[in-house]
Chain length 350, copies 4
Amino acid sequence: MYSFICDYSEGAHPNILKSLASTCYEQNEGYNYDRHCINAANLIKKEINHEDVDVYFLPGGTPTNLISIAACLRSYEAVIAPSTGHIEVHETGAIEATGHKILSVKTPDGKLTPSHIQEVLDGFEDEHTVRRKMVFLTNPTENGTIYLKSELLAIRKICDENDMYLYIDGARLGSAIMAEGNDVKMEDLPKIADIFYIGGTKNGALMAEALIIVNEKIKPDFRFHIKQRGALTAKGSVLGIQFEELMRDKLYFKLAKHSNDMAQKMAREFERLGFTFLTDSPTNQIFPIIPNTIITELEKSYQFYVWQIIDKDHSAIRLVTSWATPEERINEFLKDLNQLAQSLHMIKNL
Amino acid sequence: MYSFICDYSEGAHPNILKSLASTCYEQNEGYNYDRHCINAANLIKKEINHEDVDVYFLPGGTPTNLISIAACLRSYEAVIAPSTGHIEVHETGAIEATGHKILSVKTPDGKLTPSHIQEVLDGFEDEHTVRRKMVFLTNPTENGTIYLKSELLAIRKICDENDMYLYIDGARLGSAIMAEGNDVKMEDLPKIADIFYIGGTKNGALMAEALIIVNEKIKPDFRFHIKQRGALTAKGSVLGIQFEELMRDKLYFKLAKHSNDMAQKMAREFERLGFTFLTDSPTNQIFPIIPNTIITELEKSYQFYVWQIIDKDHSAIRLVTSWATPEERINEFLKDLNQLAQSLHMIKNL
Amino acid sequence: MYSFICDYSEGAHPNILKSLASTCYEQNEGYNYDRHCINAANLIKKEINHEDVDVYFLPGGTPTNLISIAACLRSYEAVIAPSTGHIEVHETGAIEATGHKILSVKTPDGKLTPSHIQEVLDGFEDEHTVRRKMVFLTNPTENGTIYLKSELLAIRKICDENDMYLYIDGARLGSAIMAEGNDVKMEDLPKIADIFYIGGTKNGALMAEALIIVNEKIKPDFRFHIKQRGALTAKGSVLGIQFEELMRDKLYFKLAKHSNDMAQKMAREFERLGFTFLTDSPTNQIFPIIPNTIITELEKSYQFYVWQIIDKDHSAIRLVTSWATPEERINEFLKDLNQLAQSLHMIKNL
Amino acid sequence: MYSFICDYSEGAHPNILKSLASTCYEQNEGYNYDRHCINAANLIKKEINHEDVDVYFLPGGTPTNLISIAACLRSYEAVIAPSTGHIEVHETGAIEATGHKILSVKTPDGKLTPSHIQEVLDGFEDEHTVRRKMVFLTNPTENGTIYLKSELLAIRKICDENDMYLYIDGARLGSAIMAEGNDVKMEDLPKIADIFYIGGTKNGALMAEALIIVNEKIKPDFRFHIKQRGALTAKGSVLGIQFEELMRDKLYFKLAKHSNDMAQKMAREFERLGFTFLTDSPTNQIFPIIPNTIITELEKSYQFYVWQIIDKDHSAIRLVTSWATPEERINEFLKDLNQLAQSLHMIKNL
């Protein structure tokens, strides 16, 4: 049984584990003040070509989201998000548990546009309504789609015009950056977002996300927020080391590219076989729409999510690859897929 | 410069890193459902000789505390804690951020007694006062003191009589269990506490705590609480593996014993030199009271906290050892200490 | 300038003020324990023909909503509401400020149906999603529409099947009960809702809502919730007296009927003049769609909300009457309206 | 049975009820925007001789406290209060329910001093501890004691030096202002406090407190906080009218003086009879220490709290008078007291 369930299925890249092993008796300052965190932060600053940011390392995506959002908002301020956003759907009300409303808006492909945001802004009246103060987006989205630079700039513009922060959840940021068709560079991000994170957990780390704060207003006392929400890691060096390795020699991007390549290899074959997709994803998640009969057969050897029912005979499935997915496994899968598609074709032609 | 600042200064025990390395391409279920978490939970159940508990692995002490407390309490219910308790002093209001009041009570040595608890219970009136619903204690305490079994049973009794939960923060539980004079066994804990945790981070893990829920009332939907507060680790196996290794061949207890031994070796020497202690600690933290002149000299080669000013010439310092503290370092420290004590003695005798 | 802005524009009914004046030197227990609260609660129990309920008097609708919802839910539990619901739109995130997510669903007329609720239920997966635990509805809705008994029973059924509470916000309950076409009786409410309130503020009181708790699970410690959220009124008798008077001789229902009658008198005239309505409201709020030219003229003598833009020439306005609206004012308004309609007609016919 | 339980036992002063009655058909803007609120705010500004403040009217003390504190603090910031403070003891964790820690400190008489505050400030370390951002005090205190102007100025100074807000809970402010020995004038308050309130409920109002915001930093968006916590009263005029009447011709202060006079008349007689007091209160609450035998007798005709056990034979009781306490009742009480004291004396002398 091989799993295409998610990109957190495997552990960490060997380089990370080697570094953790070689430093295990080294004494370090606690709570992100160690030399590895400092070094990793510097590598990130170089990568995004921006010195004047604060960098924090956190142990997961949900704490990073809830801390970032809660830290930016006063109690009566709210965050705008697509209705498919992780914070809206899959974090068990984590944002609301910090006291903040999410104003969600339906989008065709998981991507926010200025007009979606304007729609939510239009709902503001006065002190009886929550103040719109932040826009949350994920790149790539939960649907595997990516934002073009022009699209992000347009969102930046509406944020500026309405005194709102822009927060980019980059749980799979590497996958977006390395996607075919992407024109957003790492160095664009601090110019566009007020605060964003580079996800490590889904791209080769054990558990680590790098949060980057650009906007001066968000910086003061940020460590208090991290501590209060339980995400100030005592052995901070464990997080720093992970990002030191990921940022060394572009490992982070190489891993993301491999992951994308594996998914896209599958995508091209689904396409060749005449299948369509739920969304147009150039990233490491793909959503082919296939007959339920094929799904049933695939489920005998592979794990994956049936994502959406399309009609009585077809569903979209989600296939996710990772930094660790071996190409031979992809080849095997495609062989199996071809056989199933062929049988189906033969049945149809009977 | 050698550090006695805390027991989180070093990384993880090599066994843990070996296991992480050897499994890094292994695919696992996410979110604590993997085979390592299941195996580690079973090893813990065996260790505490109690099958009927729920075991969760979390990435740190503060999230474990805030989730455990918030999960047990309704919004108007409060937790009783010593005024030195970690949740009261050093978690940046993490408990209050979940909406709950801590009712703190001063204790001479960081240890709660039934009479402290009764004092807080006596303050209850009606719906104008918070309902007392939980007792929080740490074993060993922040002062390095440990609870005897009879003392814990007495607290259990007052909890039972007043319909309160007992939660034991075991951030350094191994150190308490292995301390000289301790009579609490691991298997006693599920009989005494409703919910407690076995701390890994301060005893050889990278970052991992094992939370054990005994009371049936606390069990339902507990995973929702973990997720909502951002502590449901995607790569759960990373946590499970750490506790698999710690529980294998009693490693957890061997590490704690080593840590205690190192601190106690220092303690005996301080004693021999005629120094007294702020508290009577048989654990891996000791609090000798020494002349400020010696402190100034020690600070040239060692890092540690000056814990409390005693008089104009003396202060208590805190020295913490860990699973990784080499005995030669202790020996060097004691040599330095002896020299300083001797010089001081000579000066006094002039 | 006469105002049709809202039904809170005037003060309290003279009977209430008389009773407050005649008792002003009377000494009473505080915090809802006084004889007036007890008496008012008994009158309400009689009115709803249900002895076995707990009745509390609160000073406003928003505190009643936020306390009721927060008291019923555990931290990871959410409430389902129509997207037009007061808690979703007009309470500044009051529910989220207590830590709970609102799962809102679009409805054509502000009325929830089992299929809306099922849609939200279908989104539940596991501990990554909030648990659906309560349905919130308002009768009449913010759109002036009312629920039939069969509709409420159908919602009750889906709540029962899914272990959810049903909470009815009755800010304008009197208006629903007295509306033409209504078949819900006061005595039906405790059989349908787990918890609901009878709104006083918008029907003749100064500021008072009567909250009725039917479900045994919600009753314990409810007073703690009221106090914690700042709504346990010290001079509780002031609230009790208001409901004593409202419940005496059916005053509450007489006032609601007057209010409805005034609005419906206007509605019939709008209809006669050929105008249509945004919603089919038999209550004290009506939403006629009229030419913007008429709106501009009416705004010279009347205050009201322009509720929704319909097309470039037409908008829906909201007209709200109250217990205190004099019939002569309605007559004047209708005279003005007729003149404006006539001029418009003449212009059109030129 | 006559009650000295609290100063909220009676209703509102007749002037208030007259004004409410005479305006009951008047149409007003909602939510504090009406002409009565505006007028009342102006009268208050005149009374405190300070134009540049924002004034809000709220329906009770607990909502005023929780809103004021939550509005001033970021999530990791805490408020310093005496351990006898209403927010610490008698508001069911209302402050913590908004996410904020109260750092309480023991005081001999309910009055904070700079050294108490410094003690709490000294506990601050870094991001592991809550930031100290506000000082909360009540004048008069729960013990009936009052602050001298010099004492308040000293607290103001330590607040300034430590970048903290000073909030004064004036639930019984009139009583402090009119107390013998008081040297704080109404016009001093905006120079000393950043935010404070003038309590109406305990001095002749039905339910109304006037919150005054002086510090510019606290002013923006304050109405959002009021609404979010459920205290933005729809019929705001009901609150405005109460303060219009209280501020007209110094009624507020006359009522407070009467209340003080009644309590002090009792106090002088207790003194004359040789009894001592728990605290030195010049306000409308007194705490005489009397034999339990007398308490038992008094309880047959009077309601009051037994406040504190002094020794096996004596307790301190709390007697509270109000704006409505008739002098004849005081005279009767004193007659009864004298008789009881005399009998006791005779018994002793037997």
